[in-house]
Amino acid sequence: MAGHLTVRDAHVTYKLPGRRLLAAVDGVSFDLAPGEVLGLVGESGCGKSTLARAICGLEPLSSGTVTFDGQSIPTLGLRRRPAHLLRIQMVFQNPYSSLNPRRRVGDQIADGLAIAPASERSSVAQLLDDVELDRNAAGMFPHQFSGGQRQRIAIARAMGARPDILVGDEPIASLDASLQAKVATLMRDVALKNGASLLFISHDLSVVRVVADRVAVMQAGRIVETGPVASVWSAPADPYTQRLLAAIPTADGLGRLPAA
């Protein structure tokens, strides 16, 4: 199966006012194998979104490499995105700004379909079925949908392109708590059903645990721990991961305060 993503010693550095530099991503390496679901977890400012953007060619690397099936990923400047990279697609955090408010849902999903190889091309109706939305949705505009529904539309649009890799950049962070696990699971199912691997980025370790096979924990631009999700969850090795896990309040009705 094609679609192997390799990240080696990636650095992304921003210039700040006052001649300071911010190393948002500070030497990150990992692999994403075809058909795998990797959860990337960390708190705000840890560089996880920057890393996701770098993988899609939206941020320039200051050093290191990101390769997709052996080809390096150039920064998407003012050129069109090279054809082979179209097989990496992304679902964004904010369902309220990730769809063009002035175009019909069906047309936007069709944008994804248009770049899929003809032999694998699905249909708008099929994609709407996949994300459990009514087929009539195609004729409507984004503002007629709730946040959770919009995120499903965004997933359908990305999957229409038949990507090898689907990147979800905090795709559930803006949703109501009762929807988060549902949408995350849907995303995993749709990706795997269509033969894509999933890079699922979230600040919420408890949701990542439900969808990911493997998890990487990021702190201050570095990956501090990586491993199968079950073992990281039950026996975290890194002190930061331990803190992160201990801080999650569990809805057990027991009134236990999380460790600070």
Binding site: D176, A177, V207, A246
Partner: protein, 289 residues
């Protein structure tokens, strides 16, 4: 009222409607809720359930042009009011911040970006308690230490953008406590924060509730936070209370179908925790029942 009346707030049949008489929207449809002192009362619900509006209505900060009904009675160490809704604006304003304080979801938005922490921390107490500038400053330093903001002396001179979100929320809590209120409305106080930062704020709120005998209304959609902090839980939907009970009862043995669906949607429903372990588990903070 006699001294035996328990301190705190009591809402009875609270209604709120918005819009003109002809096309009014019912935001709250008769809320009954008790917020006793020394306890954290949780108010849960999804977007649009009216839980935030309930908190605002208690403070008299409902949107202009909305109409309130029902009663909100208040009993505190310094006095009581049979119905806050019947108070004149001036009287309500004297109560606001003094007896009933509020903290908001996003401290970067609820603090004024162009005013120093000292000014924002002291203006409320100078207004309500009529203390001198220097005394206000002393109190401010004590408050900042109490909410564990490091280096209070320097912190007073700074502006909000110079702090992290967690520190800012601590400062916002200090501002709310500045005039020694007896009721604190906390509207999604940790939703905008990272989980490790959230833990610290949750512990702080618990500690303040216990040591200051505060009546805290915790408004949140996060059942994890609710389970960690609240003593009793009220679940709202479409402006109505659908369930009310002790924390354990609402989260572990929900009666209404809606609460059940909320709990089942969690990535790790509480059923995963064995009941035996639950019974034996050490419980921090107070249990309401």
């Amino acid at each position: 009222m006699s001294d035996t009346t328990p301190h705190g707030l009591s809402l009875r049949g609270l209604t709120l409607e918005l819009g003109s008489k002809g096309s009014a929207t019912q935001i709250l449809r008769g809320i009954d809720l008790d917020i006793p002192a020394g306890s954290i009362t949780g108010l849960a619900g999804e977007s649009g359930s009216g839980k935030t509006m309930t908190g605002l209505a208690i403070c008299g900060l409902q949107p202009a042009g909305s109409r309130l009904g029902g009663t909100i009675s208040y009993t505190g160490p310094r006095g009581s009011a049979p119905n806050l809704l019947a108070l004149k604006p001036r009287a309500m304003n004297a109560l606001r911040g003094r007896e009933i304080a509020m903290i908001f979801q996003d401290p970067t938005a609820s603090l004024h970006p162009m005013i120093t922490i000292e000014a924002q921390l002291t203006d409320g107490m100078r207004h309500h308690l009529h203390v001198s500038r220097s005394e206000a400053r002393t109190r401010a330093l004590a408050l900042l230490s109490r909410v564990r903001v490091p280096d209070p002396e320097t912190a007073l001179k700074k502006y909000p953008h110079q702090f992290s979100g967690g520190q800012l929320q601590r400062i916002a809590i200090a501002i709310a406590l500045a005039s020694e209120p007896s009721v604190l409305i906390a509207d999604e106080p940790t939703t905008a924060l990272d989980v490790t930062v959230q833990a610290g704020i949750l512990r702080l709120l618990r500690e303040l509730c216990d040591t200051l005998d505060l009546a805290i209304l915790l408004v949140t959609h996060d059942l994890g936070v609710m389970s960690a902090l609240a003593d009793t839980v009220t679940v709202m939907r479409y402006g109505e209370v659908v369930e009310h009970g002790s924390r354990y009862q609402v989260i572990r043995e929900p009666q209404s179908a809606y609460t059940k669906s909320l709990i089942d949607a969690l990535p790790h429903p509480p059923a995963a925790v064995p009941d035996a372990a639950a019974a034996a588990a050490p419980v921090l903070g107070k249990d309401a029942l």
